[in-house]
């Protein structure tokens, strides 16, 4: 039997020679069919900490991602509307926004599967879509929707993508084992994907994109639809990726996830970035330290809002509750009129609502 579990004689008849991926030939033959020059070395041994040093020989000033005035229209619908975004290498950026904000369309444009109507996109110095293939060789993509081959085993799924990512033959087994280790699926190599739990499948989907040790990882809603416990398991996986110094662009509509995993977040609404920064700084800037939640009494929700707005406080309404941002600045006299609030720490969702008037989830 061959390594593909097909009788060897049949294997030889059909293929003639065994697939060798990029194993046997020297490096030039793996990519360089046209005699182009070496661009840069791959990611070096994982640096410790967050400050990933650029690979030797590589450009130091090239942003991992740069989008300038990007517009994407589908007929009369404008999904992305003048998006400007730059992500430095070694950064984990959370792209936070509600459904329909344009996050997935942006992700698709970055992978070359959707073409921008206007604007410029550059990934690791490669112009998209002209050099999309080159960029894709250096990045890994975790899609929002599971597209694993369900009939194949965990190991076969990874092996398949090791071919597509041109992982050299002599390093293929190590790459697959590393991926399974990272996904905590070492003892599940022979398990059919269809038999895996939702969390396991998602972990496999993530490590599948890491087989070739990409310098940039795009994650489109990596934990969407998973229960909180499984989501937290995946956070550990993304943390491991951070510690390897890879640049990560992760779209999400989970506030907690963006705060927990990102160095910076970019808040996206109606196809454009409305604010960007370090989560804690954004919260401090737009929502203060605490939020006071008032339950409407005799004065009603509108009455509460009127009183708060009169004193210049931004509010958000949730059912019969009105939340006032920068609650630490509410004077005692006003509190006496509003009633006793429930106080909590301000978060990114408050920032988002303050800036756009929309809820993220």
């Amino acid at each position: 039997m061959s390594e593909f579990r097909v009788p060897f004689p049949l294997f030889v008849i059909v293929i003639g020679v065994r697939f060798r991926g990029n194993a046997a030939p020297p490096a030039e033959k793996q990519w360089n069919r046209r005699g182009a020059a070496v661009y840069r070395e791959p990611m070096t041994t994982p640096p410790s900490g967050r400050s990933a040093a650029p690979a030797p020989g590589g450009p130091t000033d090239v942003a991992a991602l740069r989008l300038g005035g990007v517009v994407k229209r589908f007929g009369t619908l404008t999904a992305v509307d003048g998006l400007d975004l730059e992500v430095p290498q070694g950064t984990v950026l959370g792209l936070l926004g509600p459904n329909g904000a344009g996050k997935s369309t942006t992700m698709r444009m970055l992978t070359g599967q959707s073409l921008a109507t206007e604007g410029r996109i550059s990934i690791l110095g490669h112009e998209i879509p002209a050099e999309s293939k080159w960029a894709r060789a250096r990045m890994g993509v975790v899609p929002q929707h599971d597209n694993l081959d369900e009939e194949l085993t965990v190991e076969q799924n990874l092996r398949m993508f090791s071919y597509l990512y041109r992982v050299p033959r002599r390093g293929r087994r190590e790459a697959i084992e590393r991926a399974m280790r990272l996904a905590q699926l070492e003892d599940r190599g022979d398990t059919i994907v269809d038999d895996l739990s939702g969390g396991m499948r998602r972990r496999l989907l993530i490590v599948r994109a890491l087989l070739h040790r990409p310098e940039l990882v795009l994650m489109d809603e990596p934990t969407v639809g998973l229960d909180p416990q499984v989501r937290q398991e995946l956070w550990g996986l993304i943390d491991a990726l951070r510690s390897e110094g890879a640049t990560v662009l992760m779209s999400t509509h989970y506030i907690e996830e963006a705060e927990r995993l990102s160095d910076e977040v970019a808040l996206m609404a109606a196809g454009r970035i409305v604010e960007r920064g370090v989560p804690s700084e954004l919260v401090a800037k737009h929502a203060g330290r605490t939020v006071a939640e008032f339950t409407a009494g005799e004065q009603g929700v509108s009455g509460l809002e009127r009183l708060l707005h009169a004193d210049g406080f931004a509010t958000r309404r949730t059912g019969i509750t009105v939340s006032a941002l920068r609650a630490e600045e509410i004077p005692e006299t006003l509190l006496e009129q509003l009633g006793t609030p429930h106080r909590r720490a301000a978060n990114l969702e408050d920032v988002f609502v303050a800036l756009t008037g929309e809820n993220v989830e």
């Binding site: 697939f19 990029n22 070395e41 992978t111 597209n147 071919y163």
Partner: protein
Amino acid sequence: MTTQQTRADARPRAHVRPGRFELDAVRGVVAREWILYGQSWRATTFAAIVEPTIYLLAFGFGMGALIGTLAGFSYIDFLGTGIVAVSVMFQSMMPAVINTFIKRRYLRTYQAVLAAPVDVREVVTGEALWLAMRAGVYGCVPLLVAVAFGLRPGPGAFAVPLIAFVAGFAFALFGIWISSVITSVRSMDYVFSGLFTPLFLVAGTFFPVTELPDWVQTAAMANPLYHAVELIRGSVFGQLTPGSVLLHTGVLLAFIALMWSLACFQMRRRVIS
């Protein structure tokens, strides 16, 4: 080997500008199909053997008893070689239409593959190449079955796998193009009834096209299956002339060029918005 060396081997090599069309990418797509085939080869092989056997039993013994010779061939010789070509068409075009559509529309396979450094042209070529290789092997099965039924091939029969491969490549590309044109599973009814049936009947498989009206004979000249049948039958019985080889091969190659362009163009429209 030290641990350090092993780790280094697992990383991709130097990132060099990839070519516009890379055999490595095509090989990756084919390798993927090969792994999938590892799960289904028993069923595929069963169908490849049983189907032509039933055809040969039914037509060979049934029709063969009524028809002595046809166009200078015994009926089993005529039919056996015709079924090789039909088998090639079904082995390549049918999965190209169905599987490619399912992968694109429901399994999101191409979304995953195209996120890797693989382009549409390489996907199309890889998919078609795999189906052609499969057709090259399985296309020979009906010939072996026909031999068991009394067909006596000449040495030219050794060219059948190559002819089956080329014809299979053409039909696979044709199927991929169709799959990227249709928008729903229901549309496949039009393809199977309106395209497959006339294609394999008006090709000299079960009866010679010379028995058909002139306009149908002219239409058969544009049917790639007709040219595949002529090449297979001619090579098995040593009746090919340089002129006929040039004509039939030329038509098949031109068909491949046309279908490859159409399949790449249409598939790109479907998977890149």
